[in-house]
């Protein structure tokens, strides 16, 4: 059965990048500095490098997890900002090797790339993008590729089945936070999860959650037996 999955690299305090920067020199921004620190584990991994066309890298459990996630995805859903930012660096043969559905307000013809990647621009919203991705995923997962705003929207809308967090052992203090108040939970309501896998290495801790959904926060008797 097709699951809707997402994965994000985050700092221990939940940021996927430094504070948002919209200027002309992103490489010099704190957004970039935070993003690079948090995602360094991936750029060190052989499976990530292979998808980018780079040699070398570590062949370790983190690399295996990257390979597994790429392999499990039959189609992707992506936010507009991430798609725009990646268009040039991903080049003629992007790392996805599957159809990508970009959630955007701007209509645009399908962009065909080499190696199986295509970008289809969806203006009917995130639920429609997920439906279109499911229709072509061929039984594999629909992976929400990011950015964080889109992952949060999919989670808030109850459309996410599984969340992989790659937690880097660093505290950033500020930045763009994956799980922020935009989730719009009720004041005594939580989103309950089940931890299904934990793999920890020196550079990153991989935690997989299945999403059970919203539930009220109930009180208990604090262990009293009387």
């Amino acid at each position: 059965m097709t699951k809707v999955t997402a994965q994000m690299s985050v700092s221990l305090d939940g940021f996927y990048a430094g504070p948002r920067y919209d200027g002309d020199d992103w490489m010099q921004s704190a957004e970039c500095a935070g993003f690079y620190r948090i995602t360094r584990w991936a750029t060190n991994a052989m499976a990530w490098r292979e998808r980018q066309g780079f040699a070398g890298g570590e062949s370790d459990v983190s690399s295996d997890i990257i390979a597994e996630n790429f392999e499990a995805a039959g189609a992707y859903v992506m936010g507009r900002r991430m798609a725009d930012g990646g268009e040039v660096p991903w080049g003629e043969e992007p790392p996805f090797r599957a159809p990508v559905f970009v959630v955007t307000h701007r209509p645009r013809p399908v962009l065909q790339r080499k190696g199986g990647t295509s970008f289809t621009y969806v203006t009917e919203g995130v639920a429609s993008a997920i439906e279109q991705a499911k229709a072509v995923a061929d039984g594999k997962n629909v992976a929400v590729a990011g950015g964080g705003t889109l992952v949060r929207q999919v989670l808030a809308a109850g459309l996410l089945d599984e969340l992989d967090l790659h937690i880097a052992p660093v505290i950033l203090g500020t930045g763009m936070r994956l799980l922020d108040a935009e989730l719009e939970l009720g004041e005594k309501e939580g989103i309950e999860l089940t931890t299904t896998r934990v793999v920890s290495t020196r550079d990153v801790m991989h935690v997989r959650y299945s999403i059970n959904g919203r539930a009220p926060l109930l009180l208990d008797n604090r262990g009293r037996t009387d």
Copy 2:
């Protein structure tokens, strides 16, 4: 050697309770609802119940970790709000069984309790409280018992050696966050950690970090080998 340690139960999005509530019916507050959800794993554990004088509970790895942390602490440092809030519920024989140094602005005589617990009120600040706790810890750890504001202060001041997070598989959306902007990190600076232990159960994931300290966030070549 005496280490300064801290442990906190937090949600996956980093909250240790719901939004702060200062009214008269805390039990009906969202702060309480969040706190209860996040700490439920502990109240279910035999080692926690035993320290509260309650029977029963689970004798499992989470209980072992609670017992180990209690055993490792030779003295505690605690925030004023937590100490005030606990004074009545902890009763005549509080669970600490060691000297507790309360960081406060209000001088007050030492409060002696049964079972080895005492509360000493320190008005010279958190560093002084830690020094006083170290002096009586007898080679064991100084445990920063909370609340979250104090743990954050100790971390921000570079005084924390080890942080145990007990991460409950729930997202709260809002509340009191352990790692927030009050850490006052530079815009391209992080606090680097080393993951030293991960233990995951159905109800909670225990992650232990040693604190390496502040470091600049450096760029890299994103895996390029050319």
